[in-house]
């Protein structure tokens, strides 16, 4: 494995609220090497988005606070200690992000070309004319038909899929080394979803950037990711290569997620689901955080579980059964 591009170590992002301390992200570690796609999977409320916003330093502090001992290293820089000014230069330039809701992630009062050009002029110091030409090229690259006409259109004139493409073009405008995609396809319908994923995979291959894909959809993970981090209740519960996770899930939570996928093999069968919901982050259960919803819970689950490597580097799970 080559030297990691992004190295997250023991990231703890806590929110200090009136109801207590919400440990939204509580000791998360993972690496991304250049050019790979890492998927972070988990239900809503697992801390996936907070993880990504922590990397970009976009969380309002207070109430959020990245605790002592957390480390986010990008290339050779410690992001947590970076000045706001340096961080701004990094955002959009080296690390870009695309969001879940393409309907509201473009500014309604500017034409799409205007918005992409703004990023180009700011980060790459282009003049108006160069920026426009580059914008048209980018729109073409993300598969928008008739880019020289579309460049003057406004967000409300584009469909959801088109807008997501525009967002991707914007994120790509400065050739970032890392692209964080927070549920990029959740708000799109299935056919468009496949196109956008294909586009992302294609662009990643062409530009050699790393992608951090955040999703709750294991189908999406299977399609584009190299490696997977499964998160539950602010912690990583399992990591591994995509094929390992799908073939041999170790953690009961991963098994539950996989079981709840619709399957072509058993048509007509009711979908299984994991009972209950993610507990409140101000009061995670002591010991294994999944124990209340786990089908296999036992007295051993009452003690905190560590993330333990299984077999080889990069494959691990947080469950005492896998260690026995």
């Amino acid at each position: 494995m080559s030297e990691p591009l992004l190295k997250v170590r023991d990231l703890r992002t806590w929110f200090y609220t009136d109801q207590g301390i919400a440990k939204a992200v509580d000791g998360v570690s993972f690496d991304i090497v250049p050019g790979e796609t890492l998927g972070i999977v988990g239900e809503s409320g697992c801390g996936k988005t907070v993880t990504s916003l922590s990397i970009l330093g976009l969380l309002p502090q207070p109430p959020a606070k990245i605790e002592e001992g957390s480390s986010i290293r990008f290339a050779d820089e410690e992001l947590i200690e970076l000045s706001e000014r340096r961080m701004r230069a990094l955002r959009g330039n080296e690390i870009s992000m695309i969001f879940q809701e393409p309907m509201s992630s473009l500014n309604p009062v500017y034409s799409v070309g205007n918005q992409i050009s703004e990023a180009l002029r700011l980060h790459r110091g282009m003049n108006r004319k160069e920026a426009r030409a580059e914008t048209v090229r980018l729109l073409y690259e993300v598969g928008i038909p008739e880019p020289d006409r579309r460049v003057d259109e406004y967000p409300h004139q584009l469909s959801g899929g088109m807008r997501q493409r525009v967002m991707i073009a914007m994120a790509l405008s400065c050739e970032p080394k890392l692209l964080i995609a927070d549920e990029p396809t959740t708000a799109l319908d299935v056919t468009i979803q496949a196109q956008i994923l294909e586009l992302l995979a294609d662009l990643r291959a062409r530009h050699g950037m790393a992608v951090l894909l955040i999703t709750h959809d294991l189908g999406v993970v299977a399609e584009v990711c190299d490696r997977v981090v499964v998160m539950y209740a602010g912690q990583v519960v399992e990591t591994g290569e995509v094929h390992e996770i799908f073939a041999e899930p170790k953690h009961p939570y991963t098994k539950g997620l996989l079981a709840s996928l619709p399957s072509v093999d058993n048509p007509g069968q009711r979908l299984t689901s994991i009972p209950g919901t993610v507990p409140n982050p101000t009061m995670w259960p002591a010991g294994c955080r999944f124990q209340d919803r786990c089908a296999e819970s036992a007295p051993e689950c009452g003690t905190p579980q560590a993330l333990v490597e299984i077999g080889h580097v990069g494959r691990s799970a947080r469950c005492w059964r896998t260690q026995a």
């Binding site: 959009g92 509201s104 500014n107 990023a119 406004y154 004139q157 994120a171």
Partner: protein, 343 residues
């Protein structure tokens, strides 16, 4: 539209050509009027030309929200009527020196010309000092509209900036700004005005400053509310994720998105300000004689309400129509700019 404006201006040029020549070398306001006429002539040509060009090519793409709003607005007849009245008023105000038949402060023969009713030489009669009411009304429009426009411009600028900063920054900054807003609102404006005017010499500048500096809190509140909801929208997050500075996000991404309610508030605000100014002038705290303003004209006329009704009636009507027009336009803009009401 453009054609009408052009014809109107041409009429001025033709009928008052000698005045025009004189005005070139005259006072600053006369020179301004000449410049306005010239600019108006050119503008109306350019406009007409552009309309012609536009109608040749069918434009489908690049319809901005503004284009949609303009379309919605132009369907609202009363609002368009209001807008025409306002534009006409401002044009008249700017070219007043060229169209007013008399000087506003010139007194004619006090024996024969005092309080004369409507006639050909004095279209709206004369006042108790034998001055031409029509000319004074025109000059008064200038004062009233300028005060309204400037005061609102000041208050909207301050209000939008402070509101946007408060809403976007949140926390202590927000609390500090909003408590300041509460303080300004809590202060009785009329008392403040009377105090300030009592300390300083009353002047147009003072009225503009006082009105401008006391009217902004409502705008600040509107803007802050809008920004609070916009801040959570993803395009603002996206702008942050692209590494834009706070200043850039506020000025380029937030403020353009809150302009719609601000414009509505501003339009209605101009109407209010004109009434306020009239009220102040009526109380003798505003524009000082002999400078004509609609408020002072109404005030001066009240002693002659029974024997010379035209003194108070016409400036009063002028106030009513102007404010009415501004309110109509404001309502029209509100409907046009609100996507939910648009069909």
């Amino acid at each position: 539209m453009a054609m009408l404006a052009w014809l109107g201006l041409l009429w001025i040029v033709v009928t008052r050509f000698s005045d025009l020549l004189e005005a070139v070398g005259g006072r600053w306001d006369e020179q301004l009027a000449v410049v306005m006429v010239a600019a108006g002539l050119i503008m109306s040509w350019v406009w007409a030309w552009r309309d012609l060009e536009r109608s040749r090519e069918i434009k489908v793409l690049g319809v901005s929200q503004w284009d949609l709003a303009v379309r919605a607005f132009s369907k609202n007849r009363t609002a368009v009527a209001g807008l025409i009245v306002i534009v006409a008023l401002y044009v008249v105000a700017l070219v007043t020196p060229l169209i007013a038949p008399h000087e506003p402060s010139v007194q004619y023969d006090l024996v024969s010309q005092r309080l004369v009713g409507m006639s050909a030489t004095h279209p709206l009669g004369t006042d108790q000092f034998a001055r031409d009411v029509f000319s004074r009304l025109l000059y008064g429009a200038r004062i009233s509209l300028t005060i309204g426009f400037l005061a609102v411009a000041i208050s909207v600028t301050i209000g939008t900036l402070l509101g946007a900063i408060a809403g976007f920054m949140g926390g202590y900054v927000d609390s500090a700004i909003m408590r300041f807003v509460d303080m300004v609102i809590a202060f009785p404006r009329l008392v403040l005005l009377i105090t300030i005017v009592a300390i300083f010499e009353p002047s147009i500048f003072l009225i503009v400053a006082v009105l401008g500096l006391t009217l902004w809190p409502s705008t600040a509140r509107i803007v802050r509310g809008e920004v609070l909801s916009l801040r959570e929208r993803e395009f603002i997050q996206a702008a942050e994720a692209l590494g834009y500075s706070k200043r850039r996000i506020i000025l380029r991404h937030l403020i353009p998105n809150v302009l719609a309610p601000v414009i509505v508030a501003a339009t209605l605000g101009i109407g209010n300000t004109i009434v306020l100014e009239a009220g102040l002038s009526f109380l003798g705290l505003g524009v000082q004689p002999p400078t004509p303003s609609w408020g002072t004209m109404v005030a001066d006329g009240r002693t002659h309400l029974l024997d010379a009704w035209w003194l108070s009636t016409f400036p009063g009507l002028a106030i009513v129509f102007t404010v009415l027009s501004f309110n109509l336009v404001g309502d029209g803009l509100r409907d046009a700019l609100d996507p939910r009401l648009r069909t």
